[in-house]
């Protein structure tokens, strides 16, 4: 890395921590930090550098009873989703995916006028998963998602070890992209913003590809994962520009 790149990473990390970036810039940094360990490290360092300034802040008192409301929300979450965080963390959950080629949901992904509509038809994207209620005995079984090429043929299978947050994408019938194009993997969840965040490129589809995913399990659990076709080097805008489809994962356990 040259000095300019180092300076640029430090500047963007420091401005992110200071809070002076506008919304689009913040979103872009949050997308990048997932895949850029140097940026992530710089952010953590600047957080530590500036944290002393918190001493300037005068304590303030919220309304009494606020914590009871927090606990009530926690109960609500638990009721809505019977899978406890503990069960998730223990990663004993095995999930299988049911694929839906939900064309309607295509609208949730931004398409550019990238003249690749033909490719759109041959990619399907999958969503993760309601985690199972009853943990399966098999320890460390990963979450699994199937990225369907069409109604029958999976293009990719993705497994996710929720404990290590290690994600493996295994191409099944996916073909290598023509020159100048590549597949890009995305995550979309309300908790991490209004637009999909990149999880990196799937440049070489001839072998399994491993990615570290740094979102917390509660977010991952509800997230949508997508694969889009992008120009070589990845989306130039930070959001999907090429065709993409997504579906939804379901648990087979009850």
């Amino acid at each position: 890395m040259n000095n300019d790149e180092e300076t640029s990473i430090q500047t963007v990390a420091a401005e992110y921590v200071l809070g002076t970036l506008d919304k689009d810039e913040r979103d872009a940094v949050e997308a990048r930090r997932v895949n850029e360990p140097l940026l992530e490290r710089a952010i953590v360092q600047w957080q530590a550098h500036f944290s002393g300034l918190n001493d300037y802040v005068q304590d303030a008192e919220p309304r009494a009873g606020l914590f009871d409301e927090v606990l009530a929300k926690l109960d609500q979450q638990t009721n809505n989703n019977p899978l406890s965080k503990k069960a998730l963390n223990s990663a004993t959950s095995s999930v299988v995916v049911e694929m839906e080629a939900m064309r309607v949901k295509l609208k949730r992904w931004r398409f550019g006028a990238f003249g690749a509509s033909a490719m759109a038809a041959c990619l399907a994207i999958v969503m993760v998963v309601k985690a199972p209620v009853a943990p399966v005995a098999q320890a460390n079984a990963p979450f699994v998602a199937v990225f369907q090429a069409d109604d029958k043929q999976p293009a990719f299978i993705m497994s996710l070890d929720i404990e290590t947050r290690q994600l493996t994408v295994r191409p099944i019938t996916a073909q290598g992209q023509e020159a100048g194009k590549t597949y890009q993997l995305w995550i979309k969840a309300d908790e991490i913003g209004p637009v999909p965040r990149s999880l990196g490129l799937l440049a070489n589809v001839s072998a399994p590809i491993q990615k570290q995913i740094n979102y917390d399990p509660a977010v991952i659990r509800h997230a949508t994962f997508g694969i889009s076709v992008e120009p070589a080097g990845g989306s130039p805008t930070g959001v999907p520009t090429g065709p993409a489809i997504h579906g939804r994962l379901y648990s087979t356990s009850l």
């Binding site: 809070g19 506008d22 530590a48 500036f50 944290s51 002393g52 001493d55 802040v57 914590f67 606990l71």
Partner: protein, 189 residues
């Protein structure tokens, strides 16, 4: 409610232990953690948002996030209070960049906000982190240290900084970049 005595201030170790228990879904520990930290975190949120009701909503979300993320807390990376303050600031900055908030409750709070702007909360001794940062901030050309503090503590956007310091936006960007570069050199010494 009275503030705890200095001797009862939560320690890094006690907060870290509470977070470890929260990661195991221990609600009693969560309650103790809230009691020990909510005034500080609410102070951070409120100073930026300057609106009691919105700040309270944000604080609720902050503690729900702390509950969800407690298992990812790593004492080797950050102190517990820095880790929690980061969650609070991130959520708050997202909020203020996302929305136009209702007008500040100026008549109620403005003096309070102005009063402590340059004085550390005296219930805490100045931390080592702050001493080091202040030494580095002192090396910046005036009024850039104030600009950095206004950005961090009050959540000012570049545009707001431009208005506050009476400078064009481009000048503020240059100040920010140069200050960051200078601070980086100083902090990493």
């Amino acid at each position: 409610m009275t503030s705890p005595l200095l001797s009862e201030q939560p320690t890094t170790e006690s907060l870290a232990n509470l977070l470890i228990r929260v990661a195991k879904e221990d609600r009693l520990a969560f309650s103790e953690l809230y009691e020990a930290t909510h005034r500080k975190l609410f102070g951070i949120v409120y100073r930026i948002l300057k609106n009691q009701a919105v700040s309270e909503e944000v604080l609720q979300e902050v503690y729900l996030r702390i509950w969800d993320k407690a298992s990812s807390f790593d004492a080797n990376v950050a102190s517990p209070i820095t880790w929690m303050a980061t969650i609070a600031r991130n959520r708050t900055i997202d909020e203020i960049r996302k929305n136009t908030l209702p007008d500040s409750e100026v008549d109620v709070d403005f003096d309070l906000i102005a009063d402590d702007s340059m004085t550390p909360d005296d219930s805490f001794a100045k931390s080592r982190d702050l001493l080091k940062l202040e030494a580095c901030l002192d090396g910046l050309e005036s009024p850039r240290a104030e600009m950095i503090k206004a950005a961090y503590l009050d959540g000012f956007s570049r545009q707001e900084l431009a208005e506050r310091f009476g400078q064009p936006l481009g000048t503020i960007k240059t100040w920010l970049h140069r200050s960051i570069k200078q601070l980086q050199g100083c902090m990493n010494l």
